[in-house]
Symmetry: C2
Subunit: 256 residues, 2 copies
């Protein structure tokens, strides 16, 4: 029975993809079997692993064509114990078709319940929205990680998102829990970052991860060359932060 973790945020550019990719890799190098699924039509997971060609099969079939088994949709990152399903929702027409076909929000959940049992973790990258694909991720998940930048618009957007989260919890997934709010791209030299970060801990206490992901140039460099920061430079501050996050997740939820 895997633990399924969705990376969700309506606010864009807060580090959902970066966190999903790097936590997936941190769990994989720790010896866990991990499946990472890209539910964002942007397809940023593919670029984060430097994959040049577009995936022929992927998320589109996962959600709309049960006759294609998961084992024919996943690819593996060489020798790392990390498999992934890439987003292949390429055109506006595809996106519209998908929205029509997966009317109810349980398409992903049903697939994972039946076919993802041999993984320890399933990580879901979602688009910056509260639309069908983002809600499918939260309906399939056991936990949600909420990446958050220390910027005022991101905090304001979080409030609206938490309303949507509660609504979804009530209507579709009563067992869904917030694993934690993950402060990302934190720059301790900026007064506004220090202030907002302090406010978050003072108001939300331990629903904010004690691990903070710093603004770190190696993280952006790694993503630019198509590697996780752990592969790119395991001793960097960015890699260490994500490895610490993996440990904190294991401790908090007793996954061991």
């Amino acid at each position: 029975m895997p633990s399924t973790i969705a990376f969700s945020s309506q606010k864009g550019g807060v580090g959902k993809t970066t966190s999903a990719v790097n936590l997936a890799m941190a769990f994989a190098v720790g010896g866990y079997r991990v499946l990472l699924i890209d539910l964002d039509p942007q397809g940023s997971v593919r670029y984060s692993f430097g994959i040049k060609e577009a995936a022929e099969r992927g998320t589109h079939q996962l959600l709309t064509d049960p006759s294609v088994p998961l084992r024919d949709l996943r690819m593996s990152a060489d020798g790392q114990g990390l498999d992934y399903v890439l987003s292949n929702i390429d055109t506006l027409k595809h996106e519209r078709e998908l929205a029509e076909k997966i009317g109810d929000l349980t398409s992903l959940k049903r697939r994972l319940d039946e076919e993802a049992q041999d993984y320890d973790f399933v990580l879901l990258d979602s688009p910056p929205s509260t639309g069908i694909l983002a809600l499918n991720a939260m309906t399939a998940a056991d936990y949600v990680i909420l990446p958050l930048q220390c910027e005022s618009l991101a905090i304001k957007s979080l409030k609206r998102f938490l309303h949507s989260f509660r609504e979804l919890q009530m209507t579709h997934n009563p067992d869904l829990r917030i694993a934690g709010i993950l402060m990302t791209m934190y720059n301790r030299r900026l007064a506004v970052h220090r202030k907002i970060c302090r406010q978050m801990y003072e108001t939300l206490f331990d629903s904010v991860f004690s691990t903070i992901i710093p603004q770190a140039k190696e993280i952006a460099e790694a993503s630019a060359i198509g590697q996780s920061v752990i592969t790119y430079n395991v001793n960097s501050i960015g890699a260490t932060a994500y490895i610490r996050l993996a440990k904190e997740m294991l401790d908090r939820f007793g996954f061991r």
Copy 2:
């Protein structure tokens, strides 16, 4: 006959809202009559103007209830010649209802063609997606401004977005033109920013605005206190950059 400009990008957090708000204000202080519409359910425009209470009427009625005229949906920023329609798509239920009601993509265009004639500019902030609300914005627009961060994932996402743009141009709005790609949050001390910025100009030439919006702390500070950077500090680098962008738009497209 106003010129309608959409701020579009599938990538999140690239400065769509910040640019829409600040260009709207730059045009308004230049004496133009401007209407700014928030098509993003996140509702960041409201926070950018420091409006505490949620709007009762706004984008939801604009798109689904023609019996409520535009003049009853807009609010005005005191004395600035800038009106705005705020997003009031508050719950998941609202969002689903909206998607069902506005099946075709011309809901916004029809409203603006009939009721927005007394403005010089209509600016549209859109969500980070290629869903129904983002496509309504592009169907109603004459021009699209594409904010772009100098980061590799944003560049990759732009490629997919441009395919969607072409698809929409062909099926819904043949007259739609790209006003330009706007480099945002540019930090000249970062080698990766300098490199990507140079590449953009070398490959796309004058479809990239010559005005570059720098990473500037006054821009983030202004948005944190709910003001445009022009109101916050008109002599700041951030304010000057958006005023220069307004001038460049006026020159490029002969709006005068």
